[in-house]
């Protein structure tokens, strides 16, 4: 068990013939993700380098392959539309990797998604991850028979751009424990995965929720999934300056989370008013500073790493190991 995805999840890629789409479709395919096809309007009927069928529309792809999840690489001006196309075609997990989607496009897309989710049956809600995120991975063991082409067993599911090999399946973790990781940043997540793997922890699932101000999953929703997941023994949350997501997560953790939680907040030294790379990473109007977030998390009993080198250590400490 894990959250959001597992080895059986059927995945397509929207924008499969673009350079990034093609590169990362291969990366996911090689990791053992159950890739079943892709979409590029006008290229329906062709096959990609991995032999995956290409469709003109998501609707066709879903009909032909039974796809449940999508990984979106279409360029920013068309990304919000791609999200909505997937939602209307019945995809239940939408990972939008694209960076640079206009905020107002996401304001509208979120509203439309929320509308679909209020009208659908309970439990059938669509989950959006991103945009501007590394994606979602539920690691599988590295040491199985695999499909002959890769060293992976095909027991995991990687949807996105993260390097698969740094992740550890619980069966190959020295401590026999696995943690869930949720993060607003890409490479900082890899750092956290690396540090937990090095300290003998596995990862149940890692979710990159992205660095944009208006997005899909937030910290709280992801933490709730981890709290309910029997395969997750601890939760590592990586936040950054800007917004008040981490403060809200702290309040939620205090109230509802019984599992050990560790956290790191990036941007302790960032000057106010400057956008630090991510559209969402900005301290503005006295809101969103790292100090406030750290204070709120500590008050909620979360083990906060003060240095980015101590994220793994903080997780181990929180788990009392």
């Amino acid at each position: 068990m894990a959250i959001l995805v597992d080895a059986d999840t059927k995945v397509i890629c929207q924008g499969i013939t673009g350079s990034f789409g093609a590169l990362h479709t291969k990366g996911c395919f090689d990791y053992g993700t159950n890739m079943v096809g892709g979409v590029t309007p006008g290229k329906g009927g062709q096959k990609d380098a991995n032999g995956l069928p290409i469709f003109d529309t998501v609707e066709q792809a879903v009909k032909a392959t039974g796809a449940e999840a999508t990984m979106i690489f279409v360029p920013p001006p068309f990304a919000a539309d791609a999200i909505m196309e997937a939602a209307h075609a019945g995809i239940r997990l939408i990972c939008c990797i694209t960076e640079g989607v206009p905020v107002q496009d996401m304001v509208r897309a979120r509203r439309l998604l929320d509308e679909i989710n209020t009208e659908c049956a309970k439990g059938a809600e669509i989950v959006l991850v991103g945009p501007n995120c590394p994606g979602v991975i539920t690691p599988g063991p590295k040491t199985g028979e695999g499909d002959g082409k890769s060293k992976y067993t095909g027991a995991g599911c990687k949807i996105g751009i993260m390097p698969g090999y740094i992740h550890t399946h619980v069966s190959e973790a020295k401590t026999g424990k696995a943690v869930g990781i949720v993060s607003r940043s890409g490479t900082l997540t890899y750092e956290a995965v690396w540090q937990t793997s090095s300290r003998g922890l596995g990862q149940s699932t890692c979710v990159g929720i992205g660095g944009d101000p208006v997005r899909g999953l937030n910290h709280i929703e992801t933490i709730k999934l981890f709290q309910e997941d029997p395969a997750t023994d601890g939760i590592l949350m990586i936040g950054e300056i800007g917004g008040s997501d981490e403060e809200e997560a702290a309040a939620y953790i205090k109230e509802h989370v019984t599992k050990p939680v560790a956290a790191f907040i990036a941007g302790q030294t960032a000057p106010p008013g400057k956008r630090m790379g991510h559209a969402g990473a900005i301290i503005s109007g006295g809101e969103g500073s790292a100090d406030d977030k750290i204070k709120a998390l500590k008050a909620a009993g979360v083990e906060v790493a003060m240095s980015p080198a101590d994220m793994g250590e903080a997780m181990v400490k929180a788990m009392g190991m």
Partner: protein, 399 residues
Amino acid sequence: MKVHEYQARQLLADAGVPVPPGAVIESVEDAASTYKQVTRDAGTDLAVIKAQVHAGGRGKAGFVKLVRNPEDATEAARFMLSNKMVSPQTGPEGLEVKHLLVAAGVDIEKEFYLAITTDRATRRNVLIASSEGGVEIEEVAEKNPDAIMKVPLHPLVGLEAHQARTVAFRLGLKGKQVNQAVKVMLALSKVFIDKDCTIAEINPLVLTPPSKDHPDGQVLAIDAKFNFDDNATFRHKDIQAMFDPTEENPAELRAQRFGLSYIALDGNIGCLVNGAGLAMSTMDIIKHHGGEPANFLDVGGGASEEAVTEAFRIILSDNSVKGILVNIFGGIMRCDIIAQGIINAAKELGFKIPLVVRLEGSNVDAGRKLLEDAASDLPTLQAATDLTDAAKKVVAAVG
């Protein structure tokens, strides 16, 4: 992306928001004639001369002046165009002023604050209004939060007239003032959404005293600040055309052209990192170990060797940099590309200052091998095993 006040004012005027007569000048010689023209159009002798810079704090710096005759207008223009403006927002070196707005002065009965921005928590655009205008809204939020109204906009509909009307009445407006204010709010909402703003602010919005032409007074926008979503300017040629490169940090602009995200800071340790979160954390860990970062630099996911070399040129163009820390966790970004970029930079620029490199992730072995083989070109190179090691080494190296 930011624009000047006079450009924001034009956007408002185009959307039907009344603004006092005004014009932009670039030379002292035009001050007197422009003063005469705008005051004649407004039927007053009062005008305000305002320096057009993106930084705030103009009033206290003496770069906003009220004048009542052409001589004073010329004097104010001469002062602003020949001195650099120094305010808490400009840094000690100050800013050169190239444009001045000459606008007709108006008598003010009451000032208000009006803005639209995107509220992250509710994922909606929100109208913010306050009866305490003309001051920093952050200050009002702190001292008198009840004086601020927040009205969420429907994501697909925008601001509705009844919402604007309720705000106008709550601001204490009466009679014909109400519909004038409603018109302003609806126009502001339309501009915000149509032009992909991140903030659209009118501060102050003023009510003038009753006059013969306007027995209930007039609602006017006196100052405006607009910021635009950089990710959306591709679909707004008119906004792109308002971009003023002289207002930007030249190194940051240069970085943008190579797809790099660079922000200059005050310290002496240059940083080159992939990913915004890791780049921020690298700054944090340098500080954690007693150093001071000289910059934030995210090379992004798809950087080429050329972009990496350019990143070094930008970092080294800052004379206060005494050491460089490269921190890469390869995902999309491959370590061998970074390594080759470092070697190319070393061959072209030569590193005389300490260089600490920490590589991990995709193609890390190939990257490390490249650096080892190029040892003769990289005399100051120290390899680091992890983040703490990297930070300690670079902090020690710069002393």
